[in-house]
Subunit: 330 residues, 2 copies
DNA sequence: TCTTCCTACTTAACAAGTTTAGTTTTATTA
DNA sequence: TAATAAAACTAAACTTGTTAAGTAGGAAGA
């Protein structure tokens, strides 16, 4: 038997006043609307007694504001996004906002559906790390007038963006190897073609051309034994350096190298774009580029709040600096 | 200038029909309610033209159903919860439900506030990994009649629960050391006193008593240099084995051991409750207990759906099995 | 021809709050 | 003493979508 939740009206009837009075009191506007202290107490007591919880939807419907921000990421189980989500959630909580997180799994169709759901939920704003350039969604977003900030990945040149300069950072990394690579393998995940990766690949390419280093872009297969084969092939072809552009594949490469008896730091060198604390304890410790995740989250929220106030402003790009964690694999 | 979103009424006026007609058509009930094909097309076209997105709140308000589940976890940036969130989100998405994730940061007050917010949002159900036994929240949950399933951590004996048998699993781990410990340090994070940890501690304790192994429960400080000191002290006192009950501290211990020149596997042994893929690449590879995270998520969702249909059923405990990842640190 | 039925809709109540514009009662002032 | 003001509220409109009940007009059957 589904009993109805306590409503304002239930309290009003129980106390013998109008809905309006109850609403005033429970929104701490009792004094402003001249509700007597005794009645205020009566109403508050009854609300507690009946376990009253306001219906957020009714409130939002009337007020046209939800105090909710939609957060679109491709994969919360990726430590990068897990941390980003956490930071953004915390920042927004302090400002009185809730966050609705959705997971696109790098699927453009799903992304579209989920963003539609966020719009249905009347989020006041969105922070998006899009699976790719989102031409299809721009008109919808425009017509709803929901402010959007892109974080980590840039979905639209003209919109707000907070992230890192993937091109420049990747380029710099190529210069960071302890010995100039004879041949460089630029490795990324299979079927992963996010904007950030595109930019990183371009940066690495430019550096290689500047240095005259031969290079190849390697899309790593998903099965470990295929990875092992790929790496074997690369080593045989004379590749001695690996630039890993994707934190989610570094473990596979480590395993692949080990399975081929390649000793990192000696027989080959590796740098990873994206850090993990545990890299310090891997054998050998992995040199990696640490992205300022919290910073990105904090600035994205800050920017969104500016947008929430002044809607008509040109988009601004905020590029944050990365930090190279020099360990010993490079 | 904040332009209003397109509403049903806007479409109705533009086409010259009533709101009801538009509602029928856009909910694919046009035929059922005998709306002519031409009008249906007209309405659909206009809806697309005006970028109509239904207001979810208005719909939920009327229908008393939100197709939304609240998910309460202590820390999404913890890989355990990140994975749990992802699984639950995926499972629910396939069933036509959305998930609202909140982060309690192990703070009981915050947990209370956030759960209140989920109730305000009229979630149809909740999956909770509570920061602790949540006596304070039980009456509220009861009065709202929102079905709740506990995942990972058990908040109430009488409610549904999906997780692992922390007591037994921890107990077994003590028996897994390659050499019986001379003295065992049972390590957990500072100020972390989740239910799961309580149970794990109790299990470890019982095993130690059975084996006659002296042990100590160590709350690890948060600063690395203090950790180093703690570990130094333990080693000097003759502790040669570490049972780490908390995935988030294992890195600190690894660093502490290294800073004290202790070689794992030789001078000391370590097993971790909770696994991470990267443990295979740490030096030496860490033996760890892998929890069936996806399984927990999937079964929690399944259980919640049973609850959504039949509210009055006794609570059921579903204990899933863990897998010991034998590597070499033990 | 009158009744009945079907088609193609419309009207209005409803969900649960917020908010504007009133209303009644009491107190104060000219 | 009448007018004015303040105190303590209430009524009803409003947010948007759903849905039960109703209606107008035409066709078919008795």
């Amino acid at each position: 038997m589904k009993t109805k939740r306590t409503s304002l009206e239930d309290i009003a009837k129980a106390v013998g006043v109008s809905k309006a009075t109850v609403s005033f009191v429970l929104n701490d506007k009792g004094d402003e609307f001249n509700i007597s202290k005794e009645k205020q107490q009566l109403i508050r007591d009854k609300a507690k007694e009946l376990h009253y919880v306001p219906n957020f939807f009714a409130k939002s419907l009337r007020q046209g504001e939800t105090k909710t921000v939609g957060l679109v990421v491709s994969d919360i189980s990726n430590p990068f996004y897990a941390e980003l989500c956490k930071t953004i959630q915390e920042e927004l909580y302090h400002k009185g906002y809730n966050v609705f997180i959705v997971n696109t799994d790098e699927d453009k169709e799903l992304e579209k559906v989920l963003m539609g759901e966020l719009i249905q939920r009347s989020v006041d704003g969105m922070i998006i790390s899009p699976s790719n350039r989102i031409e299809a969604l721009i008109p919808i977003l425009r017509s709803t007038h929901i402010p959007v900030v892109f974080a980590d990945r840039q979905g639209d040149e003209n919109a707000d963006f907070v992230g890192v300069n993937n091109f420049e950072e990747a380029k710099k990394l190529v210069y960071c190897f302890s010995k100039q690579p004879k041949k460089l393998a630029v490795v990324l995940k299979n079927n992963s073609w996010a904007i950030t990766l595109e930019e990183r690949v371009l940066g690495a390419k430019e550096a290689c051309e500047e240095l005259g280093v031969p290079f190849e872009i390697v899309q790593l297969p998903s099965e470990q034994n295929e990875v092992d084969m790929t790496i074997k092939g690369l080593i045989e072809e004379g590749f001695d350096s690996f630039l890993v552009l994707n934190n989610m594949v570094v473990l596979k490469i480590l395993a692949g190298l080990r399975n081929n008896n390649i000793e990192l730091g000696k027989d080959a060198r590796l740098i990873c774009f994206d850090d993990d604390e545990v890299f310090a304890f891997v054998n050998p410790p992995i040199t990696a580029l640490k992205q300022p995740i919290s910073e990105i989250g904090i600035h994205a929220v800050e920017r969104l709040f500016i947008r929430l106030k002044e809607t008509h402003q040109p988009g601004k790009h905020n590029l944050r600096k990365c930090e190279l964690m020099v360990r010993s694999s490079h």
